[in-house]
């Protein structure tokens, strides 16, 4: 059975990308399989783990709970889009390295997207704000404490506080 293809034009990390997708192609599958942007991870594929978090028009969403065809005409930011234009890690990404905010790395892209969205909206988050913002992202290496510390470090660094 051949499934109908739908044309899409989606701005991904600042670049207009076009493609033909089946209706059931999830946004995360399109990003990974068609654009080879494999930074975004697929975990549970039913909206529980948060590993597939991306930003849709600037707001974090789960890319396994959206079909690529629904993103037609919208703007997506993936973890690849967080790095600086020269390819160096962003302050947030570097803070994850510095504070040991990752172990196996599976949840990391989702954590980074959730954290970036938080810092975009609230540059001085409390620990409770941080825990709430990453509440929809599962880490199975028991690494939450260091993830929280990494986001706190990033917030301090972005505010120009170097200690």
């Amino acid at each position: 059975m051949s499934e109908r293809l739908y044309p899409v034009t989606i701005e991904v990390n600042g670049v207009k990308r076009t493609g033909q997708v089946t209706a059931r192609t999830s946004l995360v599958d399109w990003l990974r399989e068609h654009l080879n942007l494999t930074g975004t991870h697929i975990g549970c594929e039913h909206g529980i783990c948060g590993a597939c978090s991306v930003m849709l028009d600037g707001a974090p969403v789960r890319s396994c709970l959206m079909y690529a065809v629904q993103a037609d005409g919208h703007r997506i930011t993936t973890v690849e889009g967080l790095a600086q234009p020269d390819g160096n890690l962003s302050i947030l990404q570097d803070s994850f390295c510095e504070a040991h905010g990752l172990q196996c790395g599976y949840c990391t892209p989702g954590m980074l997207i959730a954290a970036q969205a938080l810092l975009d909206e609230n540059p001085r988050p409390s620990e409770a704000d941080i825990r709430d913002a990453i509440g929809g992202n599962l880490c199975r290496c028991t690494g939450y404490q260091q993830i929280v510390e990494a986001i706190e470090l990033a917030a301090r660094r972005m505010a120009g506080d170097t200690k």
């Binding site: 059931r24 959206m66 629904q70």
Partner: protein, 292 residues
């Protein structure tokens, strides 16, 4: 898992959505935020031949505060409800409930109407709709009808909506009593998970602290969210003294029909229903008394 194959149509107006529903009827499902529908498709619990996407219909996204109700477009995102201060002032129970709804990522996508038509028995917004006696506007090509929440929710994941109907608007009643308080709480394994049991209440008092109006209900303890208008009526004229609260909670506990699953036994859910109902009534009463 991946969703089964389907055909996709993006509706650009309510009329177009209704026309597509009329054409495909029970072969089609509307997709709003997709936060419940897409997992059900991934699990192959649903296999619609068509998905009609209503996310791009601007006419389904609004929050309008009127004299006696807030009118809300069905495709209003939960994050927009959460952030709307006028809504929080008019119907405070909604913001209180939304802090328990999923996570940032799901609230950014999930909609008011989607949660109501999905009708998960433990979901927060259906409970608020039931407790506040919200009215739901359903539209099809043959016209409009408005249902009270009590006649909308028919069973677990089952509502009175017909295959060719689209929920277009939710009307959340505003209580105009000056001293009004409300409260929402729930117990779940982790914050953001499905509630084992949830409870919501709203109470108004006079200047002497006597209750003049009350409503409360519980979710997760029956196939639909339950409101207890007759029991709440018994609190009117009291100061929600311990005995009055205990009697009402006791009778509410007797009226629930919870199920058992891996998360909680029926008897534990029944126990929670009584405890949480007492807690939200007390807390709503206290904040009503503290209101200026």
């Amino acid at each position: 898992m991946k969703s089964p194959p389907f055909e996709y149509a993006r509706a650009t107006s309510i009329e177009e959505a209704c026309a597509l529903l009329a054409e495909h009827r029970d072969e089609a499902k509307l997709i709003a935020g997709g936060q419940s529908l897409v997992p059900m498709m991934a699990f192959r619990l649903l296999r619609p031949a068509w998905l009609i996407d209503i996310n791009e219909i601007g006419a389904l996204k609004y929050i309008t505060v009127e004299a006696d109700a807030v009118r809300m477009g069905a495709c209003t995102r939960q994050c927009d409800m959460e952030r709307n201060d006028a809504l929080a002032a008019a119907v405070p129970l909604l913001r209180q409930a939304l802090t328990f709804v999923g996570h940032v990522q799901t609230r950014n996508r999930g909609t008011a109407g989607g949660s109501l038509v999905h009708a998960d028995p433990s979901a927060e917004l259906p409970l608020v709709a039931q407790v506040l006696e919200a009215r739901l506007v359903l539209r099809s090509q043959s016209g409009l009808r408005t249902l009270a929440a009590a006649s909308f929710f028919e069973g677990a994941m089952t509502t009175a909506i017909a295959p060719d109907e689209c929920l277009t608007e939710i009307q959340w009643p505003i209580w105009r009593e000056r001293k009004t308080g409300s409260a929402f709480t729930e117990i779940s394994r982790r914050h953001g998970d499905f509630a084992m049991v949830a409870a919501a209440a709203q109470v108004a008092v006079d200047d002497d602290g006597k209750c003049t109006r009350a409503t409360f209900g519980v979710g997760g303890a029956a196939p639909t969210p339950l409101a207890f208008p007759d029991l709440a009526q018994r609190l009117v004229g009291t100061r929600l003294e311990k005995e009055a609260l205990r009697d009402v909670a006791h009778d509410a506990t007797a009226a629930v029909e919870p199920g058992s699953d891996t998360h909680a036994s029926a008897s534990y859910r029944r126990h929670l229903a009584g405890v949480l109902a007492t807690r939200v009534l007390q807390s709503a009463y206290d904040s009503a008394r503290a209101a200026p």
